[in-house]
């Protein structure tokens, strides 16, 4: 098994608002292996984007604060790096793309110029070489006619093309880890499919590690080797995609898979989980899923569930793990 490139240990993020203070994110252990693509799945408010921010040590403070934990990346704990060092890691070794590509692009420069500048800065190339390399990169992200696209401004491109440009910029820094936070959420399905295919291809060709964050497990299944599921800020299950999506692990995983309608579905009624997502500031005690869980017993409310290993590299945080097996 390859070594972990990124490892989160005992990470807890606290939020303080007028309504109170609570541990919004509580991750026991999560590792992203070298060269894999890892999918982090959860509903909005489950803390998946917060995990990405914590990894980059960018949790907005206030209202948020990392109260404990370690984020190991290439042998260093990112949470204990001096700010300048961390700044270098963010640009050069970890790149991030977000839901809204416009927020990562400068509207007053052409996209070719933007990729060129990043290359000049990070790879210390002269302008001409950098420009040639920028065009190559735009071609790598499957933009047809990269020369022409390079001369355009962000607002002249469609959403899918912008996201491809952002990916090209991420690649141009020579990053080892690419964090894609809901990168296809606002895109149409046919455009989304193109980006998914691109990320899959890039992973194979460049060996870049991808941390893919999404709310749709079906999207993640297409890209990722391994999946982690978050519910209300807690990791509930992590393991190889196929094993997790088989649905035999955590009751939440089961509930989620049963709730999603599929094309060609013959079910008349979707299996429904009652209740509503909990307040992130005041999550339920113990296992945070227990108020909605069919298997809930008194111990689920009393104690945080332990990690139970179900198979190779497949663990579940549940007091009743393995019940369906």
């Amino acid at each position: 098994m390859p070594a972990p490139l990124l490892e989160l240990k005992g990470l807890q993020v606290e939020f303080t608002t007028f309504e109170g203070r609570g541990v919004t994110l509580d991750i026991d252990r999560l590792e992203v292996l070298e060269g894999e693509s890892f999918g982090l799945v959860g509903e909005s408010g489950s803390g998946k984007s917060l995990t990405a921010l914590a990894t980059l040590n960018l949790v907005p403070n206030p209202p948020g604060r990392i109260i404990r934990g370690e984020v190991w990346f290439q042998g260093r704990d990112l949470l204990r790096l001096p700010p300048r060092e961390m700044g270098r890691v963010r640009g050069a070794q970890i790149a991030a793309i977000f839901q809204d590509p416009m927020s990562s692009l400068n509207p007053v420069f052409t996209v070719g110029e933007q990729v060129t500048r990043v290359l000049m800065h990070h790879q210390r190339l002269d302008r001409k070489t950098a420009y040639r390399r920028a065009v190559e990169l735009l071609e790598t992200v499957r933009l047809s006619d990269p020369e022409t696209v390079g001369r355009k401004y962000p607002h002249e491109l469609s959403g899918g093309m912008r996201q491809r440009v952002v990916i090209a910029i991420a690649l141009s820094c020579g990053a080892r880890l690419l964090i894609a936070d809901e990168a296809t959420r606002n895109l149409d399905v046919t455009i989304q499919a193109g980006i998914i295919d691109l990320l899959t291809e890039l992973k194979c060709r460049t060996g870049i590690t991808v941390l893919y964050i999404a709310n749709n497990p079906a999207v993640v299944a297409e890209i990722c080797d391994r999946i982690g599921l978050l519910y209300a800020g807690q990791l509930v299950e992590v393991g190889p995609s196929a094993a997790v999506l088989a649905g035999g692990g955590h009751p939440y995983t089961r509930a989620l898979l049963a709730a999603i309608p599929r094309v060609g579905d013959t079910r008349e009624v979707l299996e429904v989980t009652e209740g509503f997502p909990p307040d992130p500031i005041r999550p339920p005690p113990g296992c945070r899923f227990h108020p909605r869980c069919r298997r809930a017993s008194p111990e689920c409310q009393a104690a945080t569930p332990p990690a139970v290993t179900l198979g190779p590299d497949h663990r579940v945080y549940c007091h009743h793990a393995g019940w369906s097996a």
Binding site: E43, T190, A193
Partner: protein
């Protein structure tokens, strides 16, 4: 054949692009460009397509939020496309809509009781007490607590807010319910609750659904019939199971192959569309899909395909599709 619940004939909706000192229109965005559509009474119809295909504009024309540039719209047999606003009473009472965004679709300064009671206040002369009991009844039907009427929208989760929006739409017992991306902004577990709720309500209340969505899975679960739009035109129409089993238009096939389906992308055959959706100001000549179509022929750039019947009730607008001869729609 009985009168359809709502019917569009050759409907066009163009929006002007104005420029210059005099703000004269210099070009037109052809959001909807010649659409025929009929939703039968009691049917559940799905309208799918990607952003910019005109599906949201079309339903807004069907509900006379916009006056169509050309064409006829009939609601329960009555022409509503061009009649004066004062004659829309039946439409405003019998057709309601649920919006995509559960945050902005409810007035943040009104409590839930006022929000749900508003259609009653506008269309009926119920006493305060009758109104309150109607509101309470519909709250219970939606699985909300009766005391929730005194609370404000921001106190609820996305899924709960969408139930409130559905409650507001159903309180008048309308005949037609338009659902504009009803679950695309809420979480998966709440989505399942809402979809089940919508399906059971339709049987219970005998209401016609017209669902607009980009999510084919949602449509397949909610709708008996489906209409696929691309760039202002209908490209395929038929019963959901026929369209899914045997998609006839290349665009429908590409759309279906793009749906994420819990399998690795490496193992899947995917029809990848090249390029972006063209501008609706200057749509391509001939078949509008031809610049991106993997199966295009020379004819496609010149000849515009009509929507023709291929098999019983299954229509397609493609020159290469096998259609029954001599039966223009």
């Amino acid at each position: 054949m009985t009168t359809p619940m709502v019917e569009a004939q050759a409907v066009k909706m163009y929006f002007p692009i104005r420029a210059g000192v005099l703000q004269r229109p210099v070009a037109w965005v052809r959001a909807v460009d010649g659409v025929d559509l009929a939703v039968r009474k009691g049917q559940s119809m799905g309208l799918v397509g990607e952003s910019g295909c005109g599906k949201s504009t079309l339903v807004r024309v069907l509900l006379r939020l916009y006056r169509p540039t050309a064409g006829r719209v009939r609601f329960m047999g009555q022409e509503i496309g061009h009649c004066p606003d004062g004659k829309l009473g039946v439409l405003r009472k019998e057709a309601q809509m649920v919006f995509q965004d559960p945050y902005w679709s409810l007035n943040p300064r009104m409590n839930v009781g006022e929000i749900i009671g508003e259609p009653l206040a506008v269309h009926t002369r119920l006493s305060r007490r009758e109104l309150a009991s109607r509101v309470e009844g519909v709250l219970t039907m939606m699985g909300l607590a009766s005391g929730d009427g005194r609370r404000f929208p921001h106190e609820f989760s996305g899924g709960q807010r969408q139930r409130i929006a559905i409650a507001r739409a159903l309180v008048l017992r309308p005949r037609l319910l338009v659902l504009d991306e009803p679950t695309s902004a809420i979480d998966a577990l709440s989505q399942a609750q809402i979809l089940n709720l919508l399906n059971s309500l339709r049987q219970e209340l005998d209401v016609t659904y017209l669902t607009v969505s980009h999510d084919l899975a949602v449509v397949s679960y909610l709708c008996e019939a489906i209409t696929v739009m691309y760039l202002g035109k209908v490209v395929e129409h038929g019963l959901t199971r026929d369209v899914f089993r045997n998609p006839l238009h290349p665009y429908t096939r590409a759309l279906m192959s793009a749906i994420p389906q819990f399998t690795s992308a490496v193992k899947r055959e995917r029809i990848v569309l090249s390029g972006a959706v063209p501008s609706a100001v200057t749509p391509p000549p001939g078949c509008r899909f031809h610049p991106r179509c993997p199966e295009r022929t020379d004819r496609c750039a010149q000849e515009e395909p009509g929507l023709l019947e291929a098999a019983g009730g299954h229509h397609v607008a493609c020159l290469s599709a096998p259609v029954q001869p001599g039966d223009p729609h």
